[in-house]
């Protein structure tokens, strides 16, 4: 470092230039400024409350990080949320499943939906963007057809604990999310599965020639994506006490924004769970902070759009300087 200074050029240390670190710094600056404008923003109560709203997109963002690292994408997650929500209510009310079984059935439906995506992507080799755009329409349509636009409500009290209850003051679903963040982070960082994801995303042909089970890995991540959507559906239904076929509309864009903001390259090969979490938190807290400061909904959307572009611009140009 001293050599660099002697040469007249100060090079920032490596960890500082990591995308995640830059993002975290931007996040902290944003939080502090918003907190200065508004004294209700940086309270424990508010932040925990936001944790409730973050969970659904957060759960989906974890496997979406995996998917994007492999160079793919999944636009059907929102539709899978809608489908699973409907199947949860439908199987409970119309098939007569006991509620715990209905929940498991909904998760199963999500996993199957994700599996179908993965299967067609790997076997038939339809590009992920195209496949998931088609299943986005199909799954949403299935949700509407099965539910016949009816909602299912009137769940027993214990069912609402996940979406509305707290454990030691922390919202239940937030604990679930935190646990899964740890699991996902460990899987990505410390297992061969995780390393295989990076390899597939960086250079799929080379990965194949290295005898990595590329197709199996992809199948797994898309199935996980569907499963996470089912999980998010369960949390959502528990939080709003009803099922609707239009649940989850737009989730895919929120999730992708978080993952991309967190530093994952859309072309594959890079990205971390930590980055995704920061991206997630940043978007949610920005929305919340702006709203508390009195900025109206439409202006908030504009700010989020600008922030997204700017953050990626800043982080990528600083990174490029390193190269």
């Amino acid at each position: 470092m001293s050599a660099a200074i002697e040469a007249g050029v100060w090079r920032a240390p490596r960890w500082l230039k990591q995308h995640e670190t830059l993002l975290a710094i931007i996040l902290i600056i944003a939080l502090v400024s918003l907190g200065a404008f508004n004294n209700r923003f940086l309270t424990v109560e508010n932040l925990l409350d936001q944790g409730r709203f973050i969970t659904e997109t957060g759960l989906i963002a974890l496997p979406m990080t995996f998917v994007i690292i492999t160079g793919g994408i999944d636009l059907s997650v929102g539709a899978i949320v809608g489908l699973c929500a409907i199947m949860l209510g439908y199987s409970w009310k119309t098939f007569g499943f006991p509620l715990p079984l209905a929940i498991i059935f909904a998760l199963f439906v999500g996993a199957v939906a994700g599996f179908v995506n993965g299967y067609v992507i790997t076997r038939v080799r339809v590009p992920p963007l195209i496949m998931t755009i088609a299943t986005l329409a199909l799954y949403r349509g299935l949700a509407e057809g099965v539910s016949q636009a009816h909602s299912v409500r009137g769940y027993p009290d214990w069912f609402y604990f996940l979406g509305q209850g707290s454990v030691f003051g922390v919202p239940t679903q937030l604990l679930l999310l935190a646990a899964l963040i740890v699991v996902a982070g460990v899987a990505l960082d410390r297992t061969t599965f995780g390393r295989a994801l990076y390899a597939v995303g960086a250079n799929e042909t080379a990965a194949r020639f290295s005898a990595l089970p590329v197709d199996r890995v992809k199948l797994i991540v898309y199935t996980l994506s569907g499963l996470a959507s089912g999980l998010a559906a369960w949390v959502l239904v528990s939080r709003v006490t009803t099922t609707r076929m239009d649940m989850g509309i737009g989730y895919e864009l929120d999730v992708i924004a978080a993952v991309v903001l967190g530093g994952a390259s859309i072309f594959g090969g890079s990205g971390t769970i930590w980055g995704t979490v920061i991206g997630l938190v940043m978007i949610q807290l920005l929305k919340n902070g702006l709203a508390l400061t009195g900025v109206k909904g439409d202006a908030t959307i504009v700010v989020i759009g600008v922030a997204l572009i700017l953050s990626v611009l800043i982080a990528s140009s600083l990174q490029r300087r390193r190269d």
Binding site: P127, I133, G141, E144, I256, F267, D298, V302, S316, S317
Partner: protein, 331 residues
């Protein structure tokens, strides 16, 4: 290149057959086939009035899909186009109501469309931010900005001569004229002009394109600018069809446009596809939507059926490509 020619000349499948097996032909067959099948079930579907209504009501999607196809062929994507069309339609209507000359209210959206898209294209091409990020951000900016500025107030007192979509040229309604012209001109340009072909090169293999003297960055910028122009055209048709302009972004429009491009054979891997395909696909999707009503598909199931059909088309397209690749053809 010569080896390919030799192979195709020697094979029993000569040029004419190859054209027949293309995605465009497949779509044309599907359009006609569906019309016949539905016509058998409910003959009213084949009434000239109905067929022309299908075309007129959805021409704006086909026009926007021309530009979107170019973007996807160049290896990028754009999810802000729906919001942009909403904004441009509002601008157009506001100018007309404010008393600006009608020509101004028609031209300004075109210019604005080019400007907004070119800005995005510049960020994608020169600052190397992935298109999905830039357009996702722009989507938010346009959506929120539109409501902020207009307060959501609908535009209702449009002057009579504003309605471009009501005019006709030589008996053909304007939306169809614009759709056909846009598709034909774009298709010819992309096939025969070096700048047009550069789009395919950029999308297929930017490195190779650069080595061949094509500047991928300039091409991408140009593609986005063109896309903005077509979006502007689409917004004109969209705005001038009805007497009310909702000052909101039409929900799900970008997805419909992307679907039209994708079903039309444009490959997300870049480098493949034509605008003729995307126009035919837009027509097919519109036809399916109408057909589902005519054959009494329960309205609760129409979206699922449409989704299944799109999926089937996409899978069929990929399988067809693979079979041809296996037989040693190059597209």
């Amino acid at each position: 290149m010569s080896a390919t020619v030799a192979v195709s000349a020697a094979s029993p499948f000569s040029g004419a057959w190859r054209r027949l097996a293309s995605q465009e032909a497949l779509l044309a067959v599907a359009i006609i086939g569906l019309a016949i099948v539905v016509g058998l079930i409910n003959p009213r579907f084949l009434a000239a009035r109905n067929l022309s209504d299908i075309l007129l009501g959805n021409a704006y999607i086909a026009i926007a899909a021309v530009g979107m196809s170019m973007v996807i062929i160049s290896g990028n994507i754009d999810i802000s186009v729906g919001a942009l069309i909403g904004v441009l339609a509002t601008v157009s209507g506001s100018l007309a109501v404010a008393g600006a000359p009608i020509l101004v209210s028609w031209v300004v959206p075109l210019v604005l469309g080019v400007a907004v898209m070119a800005a995005q294209g510049a960020i994608v091409a020169y600052l190397r931010i992935p298109a999905i990020v830039v357009t996702l951000g722009m989507l938010s900016i346009l959506k929120g900005g539109l409501i902020s500025v207009t307060g959501g107030k609908w535009i209702t007192d449009l002057p009579q001569n504003f309605h471009l979509a009501d005019l006709s040229l030589l008996g053909v309604p304007m939306p169809v004229v614009i759709m056909v012209l846009a598709t034909a001109l774009a298709a010819l340009w992309m096939r025969h002009s070096p700048r047009g072909r550069a789009i395919y090169a950029t999308g297929g293999n930017p490195e190779a394109a650069r080595l061949c003297g094509v500047d991928p960055r300039r091409t991408v910028l140009m593609v986005f600018a063109l896309h903005g122009f077509f979006a502007g055209l689409a917004s004109l048709v969209y705005a001038t069809q009805l007497r009310v302009i909702q000052s909101t972004t039409p929900q799900g429009l970008e997805l419909t446009i992307i679907t039209a491009a994708v079903v039309g054979g444009v490959s997300i891997l870049g480098g493949v596809g034509t605008v003729v395909g995307s126009t035919l696909a837009a027509i097919l999707i519109a036809e399916i939507t109408s057909a589902l009503v005519f054959i009494n598909v329960s309205p609760y199931w129409t979206d699922a059926v449409r989704g299944a059909l799109i999926l089937a088309t996409v899978i069929a397209d990929i399988l067809r490509r693979q079979r041809r690749a296996a037989r040693g053809w190059k597209r």
